[in-house]
Protein backbone atom coordinates (compact mmCIF):
# COMPACT_ATOMS: atom_id res chain seq x y z
CA UNK A 1 0.00 0.00 0.00
CA UNK A 2 2.71 2.42 0.91
CA UNK A 3 4.55 1.84 -2.32
CA UNK A 4 1.75 3.08 -4.48
CA UNK A 5 3.34 4.57 -7.53
CA UNK A 6 2.56 8.25 -7.74
CA UNK A 7 1.90 7.96 -11.46
CA UNK A 8 -1.04 5.63 -10.89
CA UNK A 9 -4.08 7.29 -12.35
CA UNK A 10 -7.24 7.76 -10.39
CA UNK A 11 -10.55 8.66 -11.99
CA UNK A 12 -11.01 12.39 -12.15
CA UNK A 13 -14.74 12.21 -12.65
CA UNK A 14 -17.25 11.18 -10.07
CA UNK A 15 -21.02 11.45 -10.17
CA UNK A 16 -23.38 10.70 -7.35
CA UNK A 17 -25.36 7.58 -8.16
CA UNK A 18 -28.94 8.63 -8.87
CA UNK A 19 -31.61 7.75 -6.31
CA UNK A 20 -33.44 5.52 -8.77
CA UNK A 21 -30.81 3.33 -10.36
CA UNK A 22 -32.78 2.17 -13.39
CA UNK A 23 -32.44 4.83 -16.11
CA UNK A 24 -35.68 3.95 -17.85
CA UNK A 25 -37.69 3.93 -14.63
CA UNK A 26 -36.15 7.20 -13.51
CA UNK A 27 -37.04 9.03 -16.70
CA UNK A 28 -40.44 7.42 -16.86
CA UNK A 29 -41.25 8.59 -13.32
CA UNK A 30 -39.80 12.02 -13.94
CA UNK A 31 -41.85 12.54 -17.11
CA UNK A 32 -45.06 11.20 -15.60
CA UNK A 33 -44.73 13.46 -12.58
CA UNK A 34 -44.12 16.44 -14.88
CA UNK A 35 -47.12 15.53 -17.03
CA UNK A 36 -49.32 15.04 -13.98
CA UNK A 37 -48.33 18.40 -12.52
CA UNK A 38 -49.03 20.11 -15.83
CA UNK A 39 -52.44 18.47 -16.03
CA UNK A 40 -53.23 19.24 -12.40
CA UNK A 41 -52.23 22.88 -12.78
CA UNK A 42 -54.49 22.97 -15.82
CA UNK A 43 -57.51 22.22 -13.63
CA UNK A 44 -56.83 25.26 -11.47
CA UNK A 45 -59.62 27.62 -12.44
CA UNK A 46 -57.78 30.88 -12.08
CA UNK A 47 -60.29 33.62 -12.77
CA UNK A 48 -58.39 36.88 -12.72
CA UNK A 49 -61.51 39.04 -12.86
CA UNK A 50 -62.90 37.36 -9.79
CA UNK A 51 -59.59 37.60 -7.95
CA UNK A 52 -59.42 41.30 -8.74
CA UNK A 53 -62.86 41.64 -7.21
CA UNK A 54 -61.76 39.64 -4.18
CA UNK A 55 -58.57 41.52 -3.37
CA UNK A 56 -60.28 44.51 -1.74
CA UNK A 57 -62.14 42.01 0.43
CA UNK A 58 -58.86 40.41 1.38
CA UNK A 59 -57.57 43.87 2.24
CA UNK A 60 -60.64 44.60 4.37
CA UNK A 61 -60.34 41.24 6.03
CA UNK A 62 -56.68 41.79 6.89
CA UNK A 63 -57.42 45.33 8.09
CA UNK A 64 -60.06 44.03 10.44
CA UNK A 65 -57.40 42.07 12.33
CA UNK A 66 -56.04 45.47 13.44
CA UNK A 67 -57.85 45.76 15.74
CA UNK A 68 -60.31 42.84 15.83
CA UNK A 69 -63.77 43.44 17.21
CA UNK A 70 -64.12 41.19 20.26
CA UNK A 71 -67.17 42.99 21.60
CA UNK A 72 -69.76 42.62 18.88
CA UNK A 73 -73.15 43.94 19.80
CA UNK A 74 -74.94 40.62 20.21
CA UNK A 75 -72.44 38.77 22.33
CA UNK A 76 -72.63 35.82 19.92
CA UNK A 77 -68.87 35.42 19.77
CA UNK A 78 -68.42 34.53 23.42
CA UNK A 79 -71.55 32.43 23.39
CA UNK A 80 -70.25 30.51 20.39
CA UNK A 81 -66.81 30.05 21.91
CA UNK A 82 -68.33 28.77 25.15
CA UNK A 83 -70.51 26.33 23.25
CA UNK A 84 -67.47 25.08 21.34
CA UNK A 85 -65.58 24.54 24.58
CA UNK A 86 -68.47 22.62 26.18
CA UNK A 87 -68.82 20.52 23.05
CA UNK A 88 -65.12 19.77 22.96
CA UNK A 89 -65.02 18.73 26.62
CA UNK A 90 -68.09 16.52 26.56
CA UNK A 91 -67.25 14.88 23.25
CA UNK A 92 -63.68 14.18 24.34
CA UNK A 93 -64.82 12.59 27.60
CA UNK A 94 -67.55 10.55 25.92
CA UNK A 95 -65.28 9.63 23.01
CA UNK A 96 -62.53 8.42 25.32
CA UNK A 97 -65.00 6.49 27.47
CA UNK A 98 -66.14 4.71 24.30
CA UNK A 99 -62.57 4.32 23.06
CA UNK A 100 -61.31 2.40 26.07
CA UNK A 101 -63.33 -0.78 25.50
CA UNK A 102 -62.83 -0.51 21.75
CA UNK A 103 -59.09 0.07 22.18
CA UNK A 104 -58.71 -2.85 24.57
CA UNK A 105 -60.62 -5.03 22.12
CA UNK A 106 -58.48 -3.88 19.20
CA UNK A 107 -55.21 -4.87 20.85
CA UNK A 108 -54.02 -8.15 19.43
CA UNK A 109 -52.32 -9.24 22.66
CA UNK A 110 -55.46 -8.77 24.79
CA UNK A 111 -58.49 -9.73 22.77
CA UNK A 112 -59.69 -12.91 21.05
CA UNK A 113 -59.76 -12.80 17.26
CA UNK A 114 -63.46 -12.08 16.77
CA UNK A 115 -63.45 -9.17 19.24
CA UNK A 116 -60.29 -7.87 17.61
CA UNK A 117 -61.88 -7.83 14.16
CA UNK A 118 -65.05 -6.10 15.34
CA UNK A 119 -63.13 -3.40 17.19
CA UNK A 120 -60.73 -2.80 14.31
CA UNK A 121 -63.79 -2.49 12.06
CA UNK A 122 -65.28 0.19 14.32
CA UNK A 123 -61.97 2.09 14.27
CA UNK A 124 -61.63 1.90 10.49
CA UNK A 125 -65.22 3.08 9.99
CA UNK A 126 -64.72 6.04 12.29
CA UNK A 127 -61.43 7.03 10.66
CA UNK A 128 -62.48 7.00 7.03
CA UNK A 129 -64.92 9.89 7.04
CA UNK A 130 -63.90 13.35 8.18
CA UNK A 131 -65.72 14.68 11.27
CA UNK A 132 -67.61 17.08 9.07
CA UNK A 133 -69.35 14.27 7.16
CA UNK A 134 -70.22 12.59 10.44
CA UNK A 135 -71.59 15.95 11.53
CA UNK A 136 -73.76 16.27 8.43
CA UNK A 137 -75.43 12.99 9.27
CA UNK A 138 -75.66 13.78 12.97
CA UNK A 139 -77.46 17.01 12.10
CA UNK A 140 -79.87 15.10 9.88
CA UNK A 141 -80.59 12.67 12.72
CA UNK A 142 -80.57 14.87 15.82
CA UNK A 143 -81.51 18.24 14.40
CA UNK A 144 -79.48 21.46 14.43
CA UNK A 145 -77.48 22.33 17.52
CA UNK A 146 -74.56 21.28 19.66
CA UNK A 147 -75.86 17.78 20.34
CA UNK A 148 -75.24 16.79 16.72
CA UNK A 149 -71.76 18.27 16.87
CA UNK A 150 -71.12 16.42 20.11
CA UNK A 151 -72.09 13.09 18.54
CA UNK A 152 -69.93 13.69 15.47
CA UNK A 153 -66.88 14.65 17.52
CA UNK A 154 -67.30 11.77 19.96
CA UNK A 155 -67.48 9.29 17.07
CA UNK A 156 -64.44 10.90 15.47
CA UNK A 157 -62.57 10.57 18.75
CA UNK A 158 -63.00 6.79 18.73
CA UNK A 159 -61.14 6.37 15.47
CA UNK A 160 -58.22 8.39 16.78
CA UNK A 161 -58.00 7.44 20.42
CA UNK A 162 -58.92 3.76 20.28
CA UNK A 163 -56.42 3.19 17.48
CA UNK A 164 -53.54 4.78 19.36
CA UNK A 165 -54.54 3.06 22.60
CA UNK A 166 -54.58 -0.31 20.85
CA UNK A 167 -51.18 0.32 19.28
CA UNK A 168 -49.75 1.39 22.60
CA UNK A 169 -51.04 -1.72 24.32
CA UNK A 170 -49.59 -3.88 21.56
CA UNK A 171 -46.20 -2.24 22.15
CA UNK A 172 -46.29 -2.93 25.88
CA UNK A 173 -43.41 -4.73 27.50
CA UNK A 174 -44.60 -8.37 27.51
CA UNK A 175 -42.40 -9.47 30.40
CA UNK A 176 -44.09 -7.02 32.81
CA UNK A 177 -47.47 -8.28 31.67
CA UNK A 178 -46.35 -11.86 32.12
CA UNK A 179 -45.04 -11.20 35.61
CA UNK A 180 -48.39 -9.87 36.77
CA UNK A 181 -50.23 -12.72 35.11
CA UNK A 182 -47.96 -15.17 36.93
CA UNK A 183 -49.27 -13.91 40.27
CA UNK A 184 -52.67 -15.41 39.43
CA UNK A 185 -54.41 -12.11 38.73
CA UNK A 186 -57.68 -12.18 36.84
CA UNK A 187 -58.10 -10.34 33.50
CA UNK A 188 -59.17 -7.02 35.00
CA UNK A 189 -56.48 -7.08 37.66
CA UNK A 190 -53.99 -7.97 34.99
CA UNK A 191 -54.95 -5.05 32.77
CA UNK A 192 -55.07 -2.72 35.80
CA UNK A 193 -51.64 -3.66 37.12
CA UNK A 194 -49.56 -4.40 34.03
CA UNK A 195 -51.06 -2.65 31.02
CA UNK A 196 -52.53 0.50 32.56
CA UNK A 197 -49.33 1.82 34.17
CA UNK A 198 -47.47 1.36 30.91
CA UNK A 199 -49.92 3.18 28.65
CA UNK A 200 -51.28 5.80 31.07
CA UNK A 201 -48.79 8.69 30.62
CA UNK A 202 -49.00 8.73 26.86
CA UNK A 203 -52.76 8.32 26.90
CA UNK A 204 -53.25 11.32 29.18
CA UNK A 205 -51.13 13.43 26.86
CA UNK A 206 -53.14 12.18 23.90
CA UNK A 207 -56.43 12.98 25.57
CA UNK A 208 -55.40 16.63 25.89
CA UNK A 209 -54.25 16.52 22.29
CA UNK A 210 -57.62 15.14 21.27
CA UNK A 211 -59.36 17.85 23.28
CA UNK A 212 -57.34 20.29 21.21
CA UNK A 213 -58.41 18.57 17.97
CA UNK A 214 -62.04 18.44 19.06
CA UNK A 215 -62.01 22.11 19.88
CA UNK A 216 -60.60 22.95 16.45
CA UNK A 217 -63.10 20.63 14.77
CA UNK A 218 -65.94 22.11 16.79
CA UNK A 219 -65.18 25.30 14.94
CA UNK A 220 -66.17 23.66 11.67
CA UNK A 221 -69.04 21.34 12.53
CA UNK A 222 -71.02 24.55 13.02
CA UNK A 223 -70.71 25.24 9.31
CA UNK A 224 -73.04 22.31 8.63
CA UNK A 225 -75.29 23.10 11.61
CA UNK A 226 -73.59 21.25 14.43
CA UNK A 227 -73.42 24.16 16.87
CA UNK A 228 -70.40 25.91 18.33
CA UNK A 229 -68.31 28.79 17.10
CA UNK A 230 -68.40 27.51 13.50
CA UNK A 231 -71.98 28.65 13.10
CA UNK A 232 -71.06 32.13 14.34
CA UNK A 233 -68.05 32.25 12.06
CA UNK A 234 -70.08 31.19 9.05
CA UNK A 235 -72.70 33.84 9.78
CA UNK A 236 -70.03 36.48 10.23
CA UNK A 237 -68.58 35.64 6.82
CA UNK A 238 -71.88 35.59 5.00
CA UNK A 239 -72.74 38.99 6.51
CA UNK A 240 -69.30 40.34 5.58
CA UNK A 241 -68.63 41.10 9.25
CA UNK A 242 -64.92 40.57 8.84
CA UNK A 243 -63.97 42.18 12.14
CA UNK A 244 -66.05 39.61 14.03
CA UNK A 245 -64.58 36.82 11.91
CA UNK A 246 -61.07 38.07 12.67
CA UNK A 247 -61.83 38.15 16.38
CA UNK A 248 -63.14 34.58 16.27
CA UNK A 249 -60.06 33.32 14.42
CA UNK A 250 -57.76 35.00 16.92
CA UNK A 251 -59.62 33.49 19.86
CA UNK A 252 -59.42 30.03 18.27
CA UNK A 253 -55.67 30.42 17.75
CA UNK A 254 -55.22 31.60 21.33
CA UNK A 255 -57.16 28.69 22.83
CA UNK A 256 -55.31 26.17 20.67
CA UNK A 257 -52.02 27.66 21.85
CA UNK A 258 -53.10 27.37 25.50
CA UNK A 259 -54.15 23.76 24.96
CA UNK A 260 -50.86 22.97 23.27
CA UNK A 261 -48.87 24.31 26.22
CA UNK A 262 -51.16 22.50 28.66
CA UNK A 263 -50.66 19.19 26.92
CA UNK A 264 -46.89 19.58 26.98
CA UNK A 265 -47.06 20.50 30.67
CA UNK A 266 -49.45 17.63 31.53
CA UNK A 267 -47.24 15.09 29.79
CA UNK A 268 -44.26 16.18 31.85
CA UNK A 269 -46.31 16.17 35.03
CA UNK A 270 -47.64 12.65 34.50
CA UNK A 271 -44.28 11.10 33.71
Amino acid sequence: MKNLSPTLNYPSIWKKAPFIKNDFLRWFLFISVALYLAAALGTMDINLERIKEGLPRAQRFLDSFFPPNFSDNRGVVWEGIAESIWMAIVSTVAGIALSIPVGLGAARNLAPAWVYLICRGIIAASRTFPEIILAIFAVKLFGFGPFAGFVALALGTIGFYAKLLAEDIENCNPSQAEAVKATGANWFQWVNYSIQPQVMPRMIGLSIYRLDINFRESAVVGIVGGGGIGATLNTAFSRYEFDTAAAILLIIILIVMILEYTSGFMRKWVQ
Binding site: L41, T43, M44, R57, F61, F129, I133, P146, G227, L233
Partner: protein, 270 residues
Amino acid sequence: MPTNQTSGGEIWKQRTDKEQWIRWFFWLISLSVIAYAWQMISEKTIWFFVTDAPNQAADIAARMVPPKWSYIDQLWKPVWDTINIATLGTLIAMVIAGPVAFAAARNTTPNIVVRTAALFIIVSSRSVNSLIWALILVFILGPGVLAGTIAIGLRSVGFCAKLIYESIEEIDHTQVEAIEATGANGAQKMIFGILPQVLPTIAGVAIYRWDINIRESTILGLVGAGGIGLQLNGSLNTLAWTQVSMILLVILVTVFISEWVSAKVRGAII
Protein backbone atom coordinates in the same frame (compact mmCIF):
# COMPACT_ATOMS: atom_id res chain seq x y z
CA MET B 1 -44.29 4.82 52.22
CA PRO B 2 -47.46 6.38 53.56
CA THR B 3 -48.99 4.34 56.37
CA ASN B 4 -51.72 4.80 58.89
CA GLN B 5 -51.26 4.04 62.57
CA THR B 6 -54.28 2.16 63.86
CA SER B 7 -54.93 -0.11 66.78
CA GLY B 8 -54.17 -3.06 64.53
CA GLY B 9 -50.74 -1.72 63.62
CA GLU B 10 -49.60 -0.15 60.39
CA ILE B 11 -51.85 -0.21 57.35
CA TRP B 12 -50.28 0.45 53.97
CA LYS B 13 -51.91 3.06 51.82
CA GLN B 14 -51.01 3.96 48.29
CA ARG B 15 -51.01 7.69 48.92
CA THR B 16 -50.63 10.12 51.75
CA ASP B 17 -53.73 11.90 53.01
CA LYS B 18 -52.72 15.12 51.33
CA GLU B 19 -52.24 13.46 47.96
CA GLN B 20 -55.55 11.76 48.39
CA TRP B 21 -57.31 15.08 49.04
CA ILE B 22 -55.71 16.68 46.01
CA ARG B 23 -56.89 13.78 43.92
CA TRP B 24 -60.46 14.03 45.23
CA PHE B 25 -60.44 17.73 44.60
CA PHE B 26 -59.14 17.24 41.06
CA TRP B 27 -61.85 14.69 40.31
CA LEU B 28 -64.54 16.89 41.84
CA ILE B 29 -63.54 19.84 39.67
CA SER B 30 -63.29 17.72 36.53
CA LEU B 31 -66.66 16.08 37.07
CA SER B 32 -68.42 19.36 37.77
CA VAL B 33 -66.91 20.91 34.64
CA ILE B 34 -68.10 17.95 32.58
CA ALA B 35 -71.54 18.01 34.18
CA TYR B 36 -71.85 21.75 33.57
CA ALA B 37 -70.71 21.35 29.95
CA TRP B 38 -73.26 18.61 29.42
CA GLN B 39 -75.96 20.78 31.00
CA MET B 40 -75.15 23.61 28.56
CA ILE B 41 -75.40 21.30 25.59
CA SER B 42 -78.56 19.58 26.68
CA GLU B 43 -80.27 22.96 27.22
CA LYS B 44 -79.90 23.65 23.55
CA THR B 45 -81.03 20.25 22.45
CA ILE B 46 -84.52 19.39 21.35
CA TRP B 47 -84.80 15.96 22.91
CA PHE B 48 -87.73 14.96 20.74
CA PHE B 49 -85.40 14.89 17.74
CA VAL B 50 -82.85 12.85 19.65
CA THR B 51 -85.35 10.21 20.72
CA ASP B 52 -86.67 10.14 17.20
CA ALA B 53 -83.18 9.64 15.74
CA PRO B 54 -83.38 5.84 15.36
CA ASN B 55 -86.44 6.21 13.15
CA GLN B 56 -84.73 8.93 11.17
CA ALA B 57 -81.64 6.77 10.79
CA ALA B 58 -83.67 3.84 9.54
CA ASP B 59 -85.51 6.12 7.14
CA ILE B 60 -82.33 7.66 5.68
CA ALA B 61 -80.59 4.31 5.48
CA ALA B 62 -83.54 2.91 3.55
CA ARG B 63 -83.43 5.83 1.14
CA MET B 64 -79.71 5.45 0.59
CA VAL B 65 -79.78 1.94 -0.81
CA PRO B 66 -79.11 1.01 -3.46
CA PRO B 67 -76.54 3.65 -4.41
CA LYS B 68 -77.15 5.25 -7.78
CA TRP B 69 -74.37 3.48 -9.64
CA SER B 70 -74.79 5.42 -12.87
CA TYR B 71 -73.97 8.63 -11.00
CA ILE B 72 -70.30 7.62 -11.12
CA ASP B 73 -70.11 9.14 -14.64
CA GLN B 74 -70.50 12.57 -13.12
CA LEU B 75 -68.03 11.89 -10.32
CA TRP B 76 -64.80 11.22 -12.23
CA LYS B 77 -64.07 14.89 -12.72
CA PRO B 78 -64.73 15.84 -9.06
CA VAL B 79 -62.52 12.97 -7.89
CA TRP B 80 -59.75 14.15 -10.22
CA ASP B 81 -60.16 17.67 -8.80
CA THR B 82 -60.07 16.33 -5.27
CA ILE B 83 -56.80 14.53 -5.88
CA ASN B 84 -55.29 17.61 -7.52
CA ILE B 85 -56.35 19.82 -4.61
CA ALA B 86 -54.64 17.45 -2.19
CA THR B 87 -51.46 17.03 -4.24
CA LEU B 88 -50.89 20.63 -5.25
CA GLY B 89 -51.92 21.79 -1.79
CA THR B 90 -49.34 19.50 -0.22
CA LEU B 91 -46.74 20.81 -2.67
CA ILE B 92 -47.50 24.43 -1.76
CA ALA B 93 -47.34 23.50 1.92
CA MET B 94 -43.96 21.81 1.61
CA VAL B 95 -42.45 24.75 -0.28
CA ILE B 96 -43.49 27.12 2.51
CA ALA B 97 -42.96 24.70 5.40
CA GLY B 98 -39.28 24.10 4.62
CA PRO B 99 -38.04 27.62 5.29
CA VAL B 100 -40.53 28.10 8.14
CA ALA B 101 -39.25 24.95 9.83
CA PHE B 102 -35.64 26.10 9.57
CA ALA B 103 -36.66 29.46 10.98
CA ALA B 104 -38.47 27.78 13.87
CA ALA B 105 -35.77 25.32 14.91
CA ARG B 106 -33.67 26.41 17.85
CA ASN B 107 -30.40 25.11 16.42
CA THR B 108 -30.69 26.72 12.99
CA THR B 109 -32.21 30.02 14.10
CA PRO B 110 -30.72 31.52 17.23
CA ASN B 111 -32.65 34.76 16.68
CA ILE B 112 -35.60 34.75 19.08
CA VAL B 113 -37.70 37.20 17.07
CA VAL B 114 -37.48 35.18 13.87
CA ARG B 115 -38.19 31.99 15.76
CA THR B 116 -41.24 33.39 17.52
CA ALA B 117 -42.61 34.64 14.21
CA ALA B 118 -42.11 31.22 12.63
CA LEU B 119 -43.76 29.49 15.59
CA PHE B 120 -46.70 31.87 15.33
CA ILE B 121 -47.12 31.02 11.63
CA ILE B 122 -47.10 27.34 12.59
CA VAL B 123 -49.68 27.68 15.35
CA SER B 124 -52.05 29.87 13.34
CA SER B 125 -51.88 27.56 10.36
CA ARG B 126 -52.57 24.55 12.55
CA SER B 127 -55.35 26.14 14.56
CA VAL B 128 -57.48 27.05 11.61
CA ASN B 129 -59.20 24.11 9.98
CA SER B 130 -58.89 23.73 6.21
CA LEU B 131 -62.63 24.25 5.88
CA ILE B 132 -62.30 27.66 7.50
CA TRP B 133 -59.33 28.53 5.32
CA ALA B 134 -61.51 27.50 2.36
CA LEU B 135 -64.36 29.67 3.62
CA ILE B 136 -62.04 32.68 3.76
CA LEU B 137 -60.44 31.97 0.39
CA VAL B 138 -63.73 31.45 -1.39
CA PHE B 139 -64.64 34.96 -0.34
CA ILE B 140 -61.41 36.29 -1.74
CA LEU B 141 -60.71 34.14 -4.80
CA GLY B 142 -64.21 33.01 -5.65
CA PRO B 143 -65.48 29.45 -5.50
CA GLY B 144 -63.45 26.73 -7.20
CA VAL B 145 -60.50 24.42 -7.09
CA LEU B 146 -57.94 27.21 -6.63
CA ALA B 147 -59.42 28.29 -3.30
CA GLY B 148 -59.46 24.67 -2.13
CA THR B 149 -55.86 24.07 -3.12
CA ILE B 150 -54.59 27.14 -1.32
CA ALA B 151 -56.74 26.31 1.71
CA ILE B 152 -55.20 22.84 1.92
CA GLY B 153 -51.77 24.38 1.44
CA LEU B 154 -52.19 26.96 4.20
CA ARG B 155 -53.62 24.43 6.63
CA SER B 156 -50.78 21.98 5.97
CA VAL B 157 -47.93 24.46 6.40
CA GLY B 158 -48.18 24.37 10.19
CA PHE B 159 -48.48 20.61 10.41
CA CYS B 160 -45.52 19.94 8.11
CA ALA B 161 -43.34 22.70 9.52
CA LYS B 162 -43.95 21.50 13.07
CA LEU B 163 -42.87 17.93 12.35
CA ILE B 164 -39.89 19.09 10.29
CA TYR B 165 -38.63 21.60 12.83
CA GLU B 166 -38.87 19.03 15.61
CA SER B 167 -36.74 16.70 13.53
CA ILE B 168 -34.25 19.50 12.79
CA GLU B 169 -33.88 20.06 16.51
CA GLU B 170 -33.10 16.38 16.98
CA ILE B 171 -30.29 16.10 14.41
CA ASP B 172 -26.85 14.88 15.38
CA HIS B 173 -24.94 18.07 15.97
CA THR B 174 -21.47 16.59 15.58
CA GLN B 175 -22.12 15.86 11.91
CA VAL B 176 -22.83 19.55 11.39
CA GLU B 177 -19.79 20.45 13.47
CA ALA B 178 -17.62 18.25 11.27
CA ILE B 179 -18.80 20.07 8.15
CA GLU B 180 -18.24 23.40 9.88
CA ALA B 181 -14.70 22.37 10.77
CA THR B 182 -13.79 21.96 7.10
CA GLY B 183 -14.31 25.68 6.54
CA ALA B 184 -17.73 25.36 4.92
CA ASN B 185 -19.97 28.42 4.83
CA GLY B 186 -23.46 28.60 6.31
CA ALA B 187 -25.30 27.49 3.19
CA GLN B 188 -22.93 24.57 2.66
CA LYS B 189 -23.36 23.56 6.27
CA MET B 190 -27.07 23.46 5.61
CA ILE B 191 -26.98 21.25 2.51
CA PHE B 192 -24.18 18.93 3.62
CA GLY B 193 -24.66 18.76 7.36
CA ILE B 194 -28.34 19.35 8.12
CA LEU B 195 -30.39 18.56 5.03
CA PRO B 196 -29.22 14.94 4.58
CA GLN B 197 -30.25 14.26 8.17
CA VAL B 198 -33.77 15.64 7.85
CA LEU B 199 -34.52 14.65 4.27
CA PRO B 200 -36.14 11.32 5.24
CA THR B 201 -38.43 13.15 7.67
CA ILE B 202 -39.33 15.72 5.05
CA ALA B 203 -40.27 13.01 2.55
CA GLY B 204 -42.22 11.08 5.19
CA VAL B 205 -44.11 14.17 6.34
CA ALA B 206 -45.05 15.09 2.77
CA ILE B 207 -46.50 11.65 2.10
CA TYR B 208 -48.27 11.51 5.45
CA ARG B 209 -49.82 14.93 4.94
CA TRP B 210 -50.84 14.09 1.36
CA ASP B 211 -52.78 11.13 2.73
CA ILE B 212 -54.55 13.36 5.26
CA ASN B 213 -55.16 16.01 2.60
CA ILE B 214 -56.99 13.57 0.33
CA ARG B 215 -59.47 13.10 3.17
CA GLU B 216 -59.72 16.80 3.89
CA SER B 217 -60.15 17.84 0.28
CA THR B 218 -63.22 15.62 -0.07
CA ILE B 219 -65.18 18.04 2.10
CA LEU B 220 -63.96 21.43 0.91
CA GLY B 221 -66.78 21.50 -1.63
CA LEU B 222 -69.22 22.08 1.22
CA VAL B 223 -68.15 25.72 1.23
CA GLY B 224 -67.67 25.86 -2.54
CA ALA B 225 -63.95 25.20 -2.75
CA GLY B 226 -64.07 22.45 -5.38
CA GLY B 227 -63.71 18.71 -5.35
CA ILE B 228 -66.22 15.97 -4.67
CA GLY B 229 -67.69 17.86 -1.71
CA LEU B 230 -69.55 20.08 -4.20
CA GLN B 231 -71.49 17.07 -5.44
CA LEU B 232 -72.03 15.90 -1.87
CA ASN B 233 -73.41 19.27 -0.89
CA GLY B 234 -75.65 19.41 -3.94
CA SER B 235 -77.00 15.91 -3.39
CA LEU B 236 -77.64 16.58 0.28
CA ASN B 237 -79.51 19.78 -0.49
CA THR B 238 -81.74 18.07 -3.03
CA LEU B 239 -82.19 15.07 -0.71
CA ALA B 240 -80.87 12.78 -3.45
CA TRP B 241 -79.91 10.08 -0.96
CA THR B 242 -78.91 7.45 -3.51
CA GLN B 243 -76.40 9.93 -4.93
CA VAL B 244 -75.15 10.66 -1.43
CA SER B 245 -74.45 7.00 -0.76
CA MET B 246 -72.68 6.71 -4.12
CA ILE B 247 -70.49 9.70 -3.26
CA LEU B 248 -69.69 8.27 0.16
CA LEU B 249 -68.67 5.01 -1.50
CA VAL B 250 -66.42 6.87 -3.91
CA ILE B 251 -64.84 8.80 -1.02
CA LEU B 252 -64.32 5.53 0.82
CA VAL B 253 -62.54 3.98 -2.16
CA THR B 254 -60.45 7.10 -2.81
CA VAL B 255 -59.32 7.28 0.80
CA PHE B 256 -58.55 3.57 0.78
CA ILE B 257 -56.46 3.85 -2.40
CA SER B 258 -54.61 6.94 -1.16
CA GLU B 259 -53.74 5.11 2.04
CA TRP B 260 -52.40 2.19 0.01
CA VAL B 261 -50.41 4.48 -2.31
CA SER B 262 -48.86 6.44 0.55
CA ALA B 263 -47.87 3.24 2.33
CA LYS B 264 -46.21 2.00 -0.88
CA VAL B 265 -44.36 5.24 -1.57
CA ARG B 266 -43.22 5.49 2.02
CA GLY B 267 -41.87 1.95 1.82
CA ALA B 268 -40.00 2.75 -1.40
CA ILE B 269 -38.41 5.98 -0.14
CA ILE B 270 -37.54 5.30 3.46
